[in-house]
């Protein structure tokens, strides 16, 4: 155990000190921060400027509290018309009976002006109408946009981190094998300690990355006000992302180490890893598709199938409400898959890592006793 922790600590220590690590951490932090401010910049509330000629202001702000209204009084219709054509005002109310605009009036503004005008007139005539009570009997869709946004960002982050850290594991394994450091390492620690330490160390680095993204993302969301749109259970979503990252990473990194132990040169890493990279890409595509249809059959089924579940389930959790038992069942299946990969990967690694030279065939490794 001690040997494994020493290996893990070395991995963390050497990586954290590199400039590449610091820079990439900074870039992700800035990107995520910018992303949290994006909705506010893109989705600004409507604002209208309305002119009046010889009219009372309509209680528009009362009817549409999200929008802002500015009123400008004009001495006569001629001046108002000029302002409308110049684009200074969106519409002008003439004598309380007519509205002039440049071309067709914007629908929302038109409807607002009609209904508030009607209300004011009816109110003046002594008629009061209780407003309609709105009630949804379907799913809560208030947070849909925010949920989808969060899910899209999540799937991207998970994909980048998993593929990045997995690649690091593979390159580290080949570095040690190719340079024959393994000969010394394995005369002082056991193969599983070396393998485990490497996977844990690089996994911790991945978690540092993910943690930074989450902290910066959440902080920026609160700062930008985007957090107001957060769906309930945000803490659960965040915790879920961490757990699913750990499971997915453990699965893919173990396979990566096993595959990489078959070759002795860095140039061969890409080649030997290609089936695994393809698998990760496939998981990514399914997960990305799930962001647009999180309640669909495909997303639901695949969110139970390891290793795809490690990317699809967090997407579903972010994009819709997922019953707890489903999350638990999917996680249990994934844990079983991780354990199976660990025993398989450790076996391959142990048998292949000392066989330098030409690429070792997987079949040969599995057959050898």
């Amino acid at each position: 155990m001690n040997g494994m922790m020493l290996v893990a600590r070395r991995e963390i220590g050497t990586q954290v000190r590199t400039r590449a690590f610091k820079i990439s951490l900074l870039i992700t932090a800035v990107l995520v921060g910018a992303l949290a401010f994006a909705p506010k910049l893109l989705d600004r509330p409507d604002s209208y400027t309305v002119g009046t000629v010889n009219s009372q202001q309509l209680p528009l702000a009362q009817a549409a509290p999200d929008a802002t209204f500015e009123w400008r009084a004009f001495p006569d219709e001629e001046a108002a018309k000029e302002a409308v054509l110049a684009g200074d005002v969106d519409a002008a109310l003439i004598d309380g009976v007519r509205v002039i605009t440049d071309g067709e009036i914007e629908t929302e503004l038109g409807v607002l002006m009609q209904s508030t005008n009607r209300e004011v007139k009816l109110g003046a005539a002594g008629v009061s109408i209780p407003p309609l009570q709105m009630q949804s009997v379907g799913a809560d869709t208030r947070y849909e946009a925010a949920r989808t946004g969060i899910a899209v960002v999540l799937v991207l982050v998970l994909f980048m981190l998993i593929i990045g850290q997995t690649m690091m594991v593979a390159m580290g394994v080949v570095e040690e094998k190719g340079s024959r450091i393994v000969e010394i390492l394995l005369s002082s620690i056991r193969p599983w300690q070396l393998l485990g330490g490497k996977i844990i160390g690089l996994g911790v680095l991945g978690l540092i990355n993910l943690g930074t993204i989450l902290v910066v993302g959440l902080a920026a969301s609160f700062a930008s006000g985007f957090a107001a749109d957060f769906p309930p259970g945000m803490a659960g979503i965040v915790a879920g992302v961490l757990v699913w990252f750990v499971l997915g990473y453990a699965f893919f990194a173990t396979l990566a180490a096993a595959l990489a132990s078959l070759v002795s040169r860095q140039e061969e890493v890409g080649n030997v890893m290609s089936p695994l990279t393809m698998l990760i890409m496939a998981a990514y595509f399914v997960a990305f598709y799930a962001t647009s249809d999180p309640t669909g059959t495909l997303a639901t089924i695949v969110s139970f199938v390891p290793p795809f579940s490690s990317m699809v389930m967090p997407v579903r959790m972010a994009a819709t409400e997922v019953p707890l038992w489903e999350v638990g069942a999917s996680a249990a299946l994934m844990i079983v898959a991780v354990l199976a990969t660990l025993s398989f990967g450790a076996k391959v690694y142990e048998r292949a890592v000392l066989r330098t030279g030409a690429r070792v065939k997987l079949g040969e490794v599995l057959r050898a006793k």
Binding site: G3, L6, V7, R10, T14, E175, E176, S179, R180, I181, V182, E183, I184, L185, L186, S187, S188, I189, R190, L354
Partner: protein, 298 residues
């Protein structure tokens, strides 16, 4: 005592070949505590393969390795120091940190590893390079770091595969002294080398391996005795034909006749030489390890 007995190893056949290479064919030898054992043999003789098997990096097909009477296992190997033939270090890691790291992997506490590293760097003349990355060191200095990695945990046994190759004469002396010190402390040291004069000078005993078998082993003195010396006789102004009927080879330059004889009746030769002329030199010359080696692997 480190006992290696009857090791056999056949490598897997290359694609297309019917039979793999038989690298070890029953090699065996023992090394006592405090003994410096020189492992020599032609390229491809099986030295590296033997050392890898001792370190558990390779598995033998048959045969055994035991340390202090017990089969050598993982726990014991952890207290061994090993320098592989193909040097392996983390290129981007600092020299000092690397030595400390391996010290800790071998079970030293962090402060103990640091102290041992400081001492070794001092001994090996690398104190100034402590914080340099390994890749920025010269080949010889990388080799010193590699050696430090093998020594940092004060090993019970040292297995070094060609530790002297690539070192300058000063570094060779430093390393030789370091090894002799460990040896005096009771550590058995095995090292392979192609520098036979060095082996002759440093080693208590020598093993000559050829085609996976130990063809000669023992102290350098034993090997010499087994090989036998060469009698060298120089006679001035001898009458031609004086050595007819005597064994050995005669060479004549001017009036100097030199006779080299391996074995034979030395008293008879001396009598004949005295009769023939003025005997300038008469003596037995010890074979060098190189000569013994050539003879053994021939």
């Amino acid at each position: 005592m480190l006992e290696i007995s009857e090791l056999r190893k056949r490598f897997a056949a290359a694609p297309g070949a019917t039979e793999g290479k038989l690298a070890l064919d029953g090699i065996g030898f023992t090394v006592r505590p405090g003994e410096m054992f020189g492992f020599v043999g032609a390229n491809g003789a099986g030295k590296t393969t033997t050392m890898r098997i001792v370190m558990g990096v390779l598995k033998a097909d048959s045969g055994s390795v035991s340390w202090q009477g017990k089969p050598l296992g993982y726990g014991e190997r952890q207290r061994f120091g090993y320098m592989p033939e193909e040097r392996g270090l983390y290129q981007k890691m600092r020299a000092g940190e690397q030595i400390e790291y391996f010290g800790q992997l071998h079970g030293l506490s962090a402060p103990a590893a640091k102290k041992a590293t400081d001492d070794l760097l001092e001994r090996l003349g690398l104190t100034e390079r402590r914080n340099d990355s390994v890749e920025s060191l010269s080949l010889g200095n990388q080799q010193r770091v590699q050696l430090a990695v093998a020594l940092v945990h004060d090993p019970e046994v040292l297995i070094l595969d060609e530790p002297f190759s690539g070192l300058d004469p000063i570094a060779v002396e430093t390393l030789a002294t370091a090894l002799q010190e460990r040896c005096r402390g009771g550590v058995p040291v095995i090292f392979s080398s192609h520098q036979l004069e060095l082996v002759e000078r440093l080693c208590d005993s020598v093993g000559i391996v050829s085609a996976g078998r130990m063809v000669a082993s023992g102290t350098v003195g034993d090997l010499r005795a087994a090989e036998g010396g060469t009698l060298r006789v120089v006679v001035r102004g001898a009458t031609p034909g004086w050595a007819d009927g005597l064994p050995g080879e005669l060479s004549v330059t001017g009036d100097r006749h030199t006779l080299l004889v391996a074995g034979g009746d030395d008293q008879e030769i001396l009598r004949r030489a005295l009769k023939a002329g003025h005997v300038e030199h008469f003596g037995v010359e010890q074979p060098t390890l190189t000569e013994i080696f050539k003879e053994a692997v021939a």
